[in-house]
């Protein structure tokens, strides 16, 4: 581990950090836009696509979905309602704890989510500007950033 001049609360905002933050903001906006478009192309909203993506690893209680997405449980109710009414997910009561409702993706839902993910891999324009080596470097940096901060949850 390299000793960093900036530990915990950064004492001063260095030049590089500032620029990286600005670049990230732009990239985040771009990514977000494309994600919404890709979802819309499958008649899903961004929030619905996110929930569906979470369910790729299996059924999940409402509350856990809310925690992972950092929003109120009451919000998830509506999103799951709309997904359910379209046959993308089902709600089943947990046998261990009947208060809990497990949300599971249907085959249709899982397929839509996987399709969307694949389309992101192909359509991701920004990434096309980088060579294989650079992508590897980027991957390592992103990994470091994500494991260093609060865990990605899912």
């Amino acid at each position: 581990m390299d000793t960093q001049p900036a530990q915990g609360a950064t004492p001063q905002p260095d030049e590089i950090t500032r620029e990286v933050v600005d670049l990230m903001a732009n990239l985040v906006a771009l990514f977000h836009r494309e994600y919404e478009e890709a979802a819309a192309a499958r008649s899903l909203t961004g929030a619905q696509a996110k929930v569906l993506a979470l369910l790729r690893r299996g059924p999940m209680p409402m509350r856990q979905i809310a925690q992972t997405l950092s929003c109120e449980p009451s919000n998830i109710t509506g999103i799951v309602d709309r997904l359910e009414s379209r046959g993308f997910v089902t709600r089943e009561a947990d046998r261990q704890d009947r208060r809990v409702k497990l949300v599971a993706a249907t085959d249709t839902g899982a397929a839509a989510s996987e399709e969307l993910r694949e389309s992101l891999n192909f359509a991701r324009e920004p990434l096309a500007s980088l060579g294989p080596d650079e992508r590897t470097v980027l991957r390592d940096l992103l990994r470091r950033m994500l494991t260093g901060a609060s865990g990605p949850g899912a």
Copy 2:
């Protein structure tokens, strides 16, 4: 679509790309969350903060704001309404073309925006996991990605 169309720049969805996309999705979610929180701490919504950030470079017509943010002009009307009612921006008619309304940040608005930006520089936890050299590498990669794709506009 079972067939894998090898079109565009990417001939096949390689392993690295897929992982980078997933990592980016997580990072984008994290960034987005923190941005919203930082804005909320100043009693701004994310959208309001974005508009205010755009105005850092000077007054801007409604239409241009809409184009930069990739949304309908009618949407901007409401956001600017709320910013205006709180004294963060003003609407002034353009002398050259009286159809155009130039939105400008007030001192209060500009201060709030700058403060928010600074707070991002400090609070950005993920970035703290990287050393100075790594941050430089990351900056260069992000620059490449953004200039290679559709221009960031702002």
